[in-house]
Amino acid sequence: MKGPGGALAYLLARSTINRARAWVRRITTPRYAAAFLVGAGYLYVMLGRSRFPTSTPTTGIGDDFVPLFYEMAVVLAVVLTWVFGAVEPGIYFTPADIQMLFPAPVSRRALVRYKLVQAQLPILFTVFVWRMIFRSTSPSFAPGRASALWVVVTTLYLHRVGASFVKVSAAQRGLSGLRRNAIPIAVVLLAFATFIWGIVDAFPAIQAAFDRNSPQGVLSAIRSTPQARIVLWPFDTLLAPLTAHSTAERFRTMGWALLILAGCYAWVMRSAVGFEEAAMQSAERMAARIARVRGRATVPLRAWRPLFRLSPSGRPFGAIVWKNLTAFQRLASPRRTIFFAVFTVLLATAWMRASTTAASMITGIAGGGIFWLAFFGAIAVRADLQQDMLKLQLLRTYPIRSATLVAAEIGGSLIVISAVQWFLILCALLGFLFMPVQPRTVPSALIAGALPKLVAIVIALPAITGLRVAVANAWAVLFPSWVQLGPTKTAGIEAIGANMLTVFGSLLVHVLLMVVPAAIGYGLILALNTLSRGAWAYVPAAIVFSAISTVELWLIAKWLGNVFSRTDPSAVDAALS
């Protein structure tokens, strides 16, 4: 192929090959190989066994309900495209495309063709995933049905691009733009009018179905009108190969479906409007959107006043903790905070209503949000090295001992999580005292049995949470490529595997770290019970548990500080690449 078309084909081919090579190189490095294997295994187990059982496995998705479902989904997609679709080109040009290709002597049609071909990769991936999902319950979802699905997805994509061109043209040129796209606009309006006409005609039948409270009846009444059959013909024709019950039927119907696809392609190529300016605006919006999706730090921040003012003199430890608390405060959006507060109150109320005794209430609270925070809060809060590893170089220039730095980083998240946990306990306690649940029995039961346990939980929670935060931080320092650092987010099979390894691995280490303090604390409870200390034995046990855990935390901070001071910044760079 000569000329710009050849150059674009080369760009497409080389980009695809190089991307594939880079991915293979990445997943064959030791740090990603294990993650890839775990992720691939997980996907095989999840996708290999379908989650969509059908009543007649031999026909699979060709059941009676399925064609109607597909028809409605496709009609909805088309309607939404016209009604709510943004006024921007339905094809996304990257900043590199805009900078390199727009000034080049390449026709608009060549550019559109290039993007359409490029879009085939995600489309084929979508088809592959659907094929995997339906493989086991629908043996007939073989290559034939997969190719039928490809026709549907590609046609919908082309339709979306074509509709976007019509909108862009109308926005740019006003009436002349509308005139330029008179045929597609007329077709859409005519289809809409015909459909409404059909509904008006079938109104008595629809009314009757409504009276019978039969949604299927309503749908059937609408679809059976001649007008609806005309409007739905392209949709049914497009879907016919997908819902065919036999290979012969699929072959017979495929020709018409391909004709609709070809029609959409011709429409898109013919209506390739001056999309350059809109594409640039769209690229900027997309860049902002990607930045938002990739991380919290890129969400527009508000410089709320810090929780407390940092004194210019004092230990550097305090400065790091202050920085992380300020970060958490500014990253936590008001909407998220309100949601959390409402959720907390609802949860506490639900527990209270469900509880009939003080003991079950305490168990319910402890077993719920508080312990979730203890074991998983470190993943959510991340006001520590999980965020600051990206600033490794800067942190290393600070005149502060590495162990102190690590301890301060752990301290930031620990303070946040502990504060939320204690707030939850307080909410529950207040709710319990003021709710009309067995009011006469509550105080004595609380004091006799549950209060010591509650005090023990309040004492032990920071130690449990601190160990969990320490493990999460250790994971970030030791395996930066497996952890989401700061606002970065990785995708792909290896990322799924890395997440699983991180969550399960760090949980295992966390539990192991708690074995010794828990065993000693339990031993103390047994010993004190022999002295008839009752439930109050939990309190000294919690103190001992916390003391031993604090020693462990100190040892971890010291060791992790050494590792941190030796970590090469290029390891973090490599993790992000």
Binding site: A297, T298, P300, L301, A303, P306, L310, S311, P312, S313, G314, P316, G318, A319, I320, W322, K323, T326, A327, R330, L331, K391, L392, Q393, L394, R396, T397, Y398, P399, I400, R401, S565, R566, D568, P569, S570
Partner: protein
């Protein structure tokens, strides 16, 4: 103020910096120059305590970077070419935070002066996401200066600055050196190096090629006499640099 002896940094089989020895005295501005990949960034990272040398020693103000890193670092400021800022701290908070980290209790009076000197007064309550590239660079510079360091390490300090900012930055470096700060400046802008630096350190492929004033460098190489710094640099690094 800065004393480097036999600095070597290896990455596996690759040696980025090999047996580098030099010093920077108070009031001196040493220009570190070399072609891309010469080992400048590795040298600066080692000097500022970001990476650990494979061999050799680094001392700042008499404090060994390996044995007493906190005391050595407290005298230093490293200003990288790509400013690294915390997304969620305002301009003023960055300075307060840095002052506290470096134990600069007297920084409260210095912060307004620095904000004025670097034209950040209007942006004191802004977050980094609201700053331009040049403003971010100015903030990184302000953070470097807030604790009145005794030694200043700068990597391409003019990147992203406008002409007025460049002039002001040059004045800042010169005034700090005049007040006794030891400055190590790495830059590809040879005219800047020529204008500000009292001595030059030329490295290539991790090795020292030349060190001294321009006159001292030329004195040892008579064939370079009468040539400009650009020609001297190209001759020393063996890169003809002839236009295509």
């Amino acid at each position: 103020m800065i004393a480097v002896r036999g600095l070597t940094k290896r990455y596996g089989e690759f040696t980025a910096v090999r047996d580098l020895s030099f010093g920077v005295e108070p009031g001196e501005v040493l220009g570190l120059v070399g072609p891309n990949g010469a080992g400048k960034t590795t040298t600066l990272r080692a000097l500022s305590g970001i990476i650990t040398p494979s061999a050799g020693s680094i001392a700042v103000g008499g404090f060994d970077m390996a044995r007493e890193p906190e005391r050595a670092k407290s005298l230093l400021a490293f200003i990288p070419d790509e400013p690294q800022l915390f997304d969620y701290l305002t301009v003023e908070e960055h300075l307060q935070f840095t002052a506290r980290l470096y134990g600069a209790a007297d920084a409260a009076g210095r912060i307004p002066a620095l904000l004025g000197e670097l034209e950040l007064n209007d942006k004191r309550s802004a977050l980094p996401s609201e700053l331009s590239r040049g403003m971010k660079q100015k903030l990184a510079i302000a953070c470097g200066l807030v604790h009145a360091p005794s030694a200043l390490i700068l990597d391409e300090p003019l990147t992203g600055l406008d002409p007025a900012g460049i002039r002001r930055m040059k004045g800042t470096i010169a005034s700090r050196a005049k007040s006794g700060v030891a400055v190590l400046l790495s830059s590809h802008l040879l005219h800047l190096v020529e204008e500000l630096c009292t001595r030059l350190l030329v490295i290539q492929q991790g090795r020292m090629v030349a060190i001294g004033t321009i006159a001292e460098i030329v004195a040892g190489r008579p064939q370079l006499a009468g040539q400009g710094l650009e020609d001297i640099f190209l001759a020393l690094t063996g890169d003809g640099g002839a236009p295509a």
